[in-house]
């Protein structure tokens, strides 16, 4: 239905491998002029790789790219903008100390010769913002004083000031509130009607359905279909996104669930989440998930003591707990497995043994001295259980591979034998075999009576491992599911606000 001339972007047969990993395999992306084109897929499906190829940041191994009818043999970040393709990055790439005008016209300043005409720059910026977006911002306002939504609009204006014909927006709504999303969509529709092609990447399925004319669904590094969401609806997209054949990855577990251990009531952090209450019982694994920007990360950070909540309280076995810092959280019998394990997790210059036993030396001590035999036994246990590939227990952690470093970090936190474990994406960047080992370990901890709160973006993993799953959507705990009664379609729908499921599983 799309004739060749009609296409603003025509990427054909794009392949890209990183070592043995095939990130893109014969993927196509065709975007017609004057349309808003959605690009969806789970994490690792190849969305960001194909966008990086389009941005000239990655060189494809094979494939052809045609932009506005012009075949481009070599894309670079420098020449892609000259071809009219502009990227609105997820992290707002604006100079915080620049004024709005400076941010819009940086590198294309109006003026004479070397000199910049500040007055005309400010005037033109104000005119463009007001004309395109009905946004009245005083000319001298600094970027750092704008709201997130306004910064997004300044970025788009910057692209328009350079005569963009294609706009690529990567998760533009992640940090926006509803009203701001609406006004951004009005802007995008208007630009589409002016003939600009827009590639819109989002995890929010409802937004995809509302906004996009066509959607390319990616899975396992290739495009598995182009859909017109208004005709087929988003359920079809979700079905195409999720790879259904899941192996027998998740070990079964049975154990009694005991008394409440971790209780969170009405916890709020302004700007991120509000009035979140939850509870984790002894012997229970509770999953929690939410999209980027939903506030779930910040919620976990509050439980870690990395961020301080504005209101509400946390109790552990009915004793009020105050997590001012990670140290105080640890001292209150909470074990934390932070996501950024390279930063918070391992000491690269120490040995495997030292890293693992560091947080729990007391347990291996007799009369104030560390009992090396107790310590060695415990460390060997972890090396075996997590299959940490290390020549010996005294090898330096920095000599291990990245995945094995992660396992060491995990072992360190898990060796504390705490009552409560809070885990933030413990299986990210860990190979499948190690994932199963981590699941087994969690099961064992739960069986020993620990209360486990497990944050993950991998929905299948949550369903396989957890007893209950909580969903945070735009700063609120909106759904709770029993793991046995939910599938990943419904979980994804809940997390992306696709529809409000009529049934909320029994609480």
């Amino acid at each position: 239905m799309a004739s060749g001339n009609d296409l603003a972007i025509d990427m054909r047969g794009i392949s890209k491998s990183f070592g043995v990993v095939k990130a893109l395999a014969d993927a196509d992306l065709k975007v017609r002029r004057g349309t808003i084109h959605g690009l969806v897929g789970q994490n690792g499906a190849g969305k960001s790789t194909i966008i990086k190829v389009l941005a000239g940041m990655l060189k494809p191994d094979a494939g052809e790219i045609v932009i506005n009818g012009q075949s481009v043999s070599r894309l670079t970040p420098a020449n892609v903008e000259k071809l009219g393709v502009h990227f609105i990055h997820q992290d707002r790439l604006l100079v915080p100390t620049a004024t709005v005008g400076e941010a819009i016209f940086l590198k294309n300043e109006p003026g004479f010769g070397f000199f910049v005409n500040h007055r005309s720059m400010a005037r033109r910026a104000r005119e463009m913002l007001s004309q395109y977006f009905d946004l009245e911002i005083p000319a001298g306002t600094l970027v750092q004083d704008l709201t997130t939504a306004q910064q997004k609009i300044v970025q788009i204006t910057r692209a328009l000031a350079q005569n963009a014909s294609v706009l690529v927006l990567d998760e533009p709504t992640a940090a926006l509130v509803k009203r701001e999303v609406d006004s951004l969509f009005r802007v995008l529709r208007r630009l589409r009607d002016d003939g600009i092609a827009i590639i819109f990447i989002s995890h929010y399925m409802q937004e995809i359905e509302d906004l996009c004319d066509e959607v390319t669904v990616m899975r396992n590094g290739t495009d598995v279909g182009v859909i017109v969401p208004r005709e087929t609806g988003i359920d079809e997209i979700v079905r195409m996104m999720i790879n259904r054949d899941v192996g027998d990855m998740f070990p079964k577990r049975s154990g009694a669930i005991g008394a409440p251990v971790l209780k969170v009531s009405n916890l709020s952090l302004s700007g991120h989440f509000e009035d979140v209450s939850l509870q984790v019982n002894a012997g229970e694994v509770v999953g929690i998930t939410g999209l980027l920007g939903s506030g779930v990360k910040e919620l976990i950070h509050c439980l870690f003591g990395l961020e301080k909540a504005d209101g509400g309280n946390i109790t552990i076995e009915d004793k009020p707990a105050r997590f001012a810092t990670p140290v105080s959280a640890v001292s209150q019998d909470v074990a934390l497995v932070p996501e950024d394990r390279r930063a918070h997790g391992v000491a690269l210059g120490l040995s495997v043994r030292e890293n693992i036993s560091l947080a729990s030396l007391k347990r291996y001590s007799r009369n104030g001295f560390v009992s090396r035999s107790l310590e060695n036994a415990a460390v060997d246990g972890f090396i075996r259980e997590l299959s940490i590939k290390t020549p010996q227990r005294d090898a330096l952690v920095k000599t291990l591979s990245g995945g094995n470093q992660q396992k060491v970090a995990l072992a360190k936190w898990l060796s504390c034998q705490s009552k409560v474990y809070v885990l933030d994406e413990p299986t990210v960047a860990v190979d499948v075999g190690a994932k199963v080992e981590i699941y087994n370990l969690l099961n064992r901890l739960a069986a020993e009576g620990a209360a486990i709160l497990f944050m993950s973006s991998d929905l299948l993993e949550l369903i396989g491992v957890c007893d209950r799953i909580l969903v945070i959507y735009r700063g609120e705990l909106t759904h709770e599911f029993n793991a046995g009664e939910v599938d990943s379609d419904r979980l994804l729908s809940a997390a992306s606000g696709a529809r409000a499921p009529a049934d909320r599983s029994a609480a």
Partner: protein
Amino acid sequence: MSAVANRELTMNPSKKPPAKAASGRKAVITWLVRLGAIGCFVLILLYFAVMAPGFLSFYNAMNVVEQSAILGVLAFGMSAVIIGGGSDVQTGGIDLSMAAATGLCAAVFASMLNAGFPTPVAFLATLATGLVVGLLNAIAVVRLNILPLLATLATMNIVAGAELILTQNTVLPVTSDFTADLAMGTVAGVSFLAWSLIAFTFLMVAVLHFTGFGLRLYAVGGHPEAARAAGIGVGRYLTGTYLFSGACAALASVLLISRLSASTPGTGELLLSILAAALLGTVFSRRFVPTAGGTLLSTLFIGFLANGFQLLNVSSYWVNGVQGALILLVVAATSFAKPSER
């Protein structure tokens, strides 16, 4: 399965969005910090005006401007480095080698003149010396990715060592018509030294605040990634700032020699004043970045500070302490008022 008591889950997803209330408070703090700092400057100057006889006289003021010329040229070089490298105190741009480079350049200039080279040749050799020091810094910071604080600390020691080798830690007296004219000459009743500061200020105002180059330099320092995304060659700009600070050191060394009629050891002690002038200047900008005007004002302030102590017969050793305290105050206050990402 779960024996959890009733959970307060709200089902309406359209509840009011969390607001962004913090930005207003930040703006107030920013204003308070700036007003407080500027108020401090004014109070100190008022104190001198009342207590020190002759502080406010035209002759004294001109004297201070003249004395400040050397510091001003150096402070502008430092400001350019801070603008391009970003004003973060730990990881941002800084050139600790400037004072030592001034000493080396002065030694080169003095020994060339004493060896009988013509003034232009000696001047070019001095400029080249400054640029080589700048290039060294640029290579360390841009190519080798060493933190500016550390990289320039290392070059500082290399350069200071080179100066000692050249001068054997002695005073090299200079007698030349050129330097004598520079020290004594006047145009329209204002000395050459003062004119050089005025001209340099105009040049800096024009380049930093009225050219695209200046705007992009600020962008490079404000958010290198954003600047790169806008197609700006970040590394080239950074290299430029270090070359410029080296050139400033060379110029300052010529002014220094004309004022002292000699190259003297101990130029390295200028470093604290240079840093103070460039860092104090940031409070005159609502963005807390160095500006041409801010650097000039704080340079003059430091000049008046030293002058006031002299007039009050307070030992000049105190000036160092006060400058150090001011740096601490300003850095602490600005980092407190800066909007924090994340």
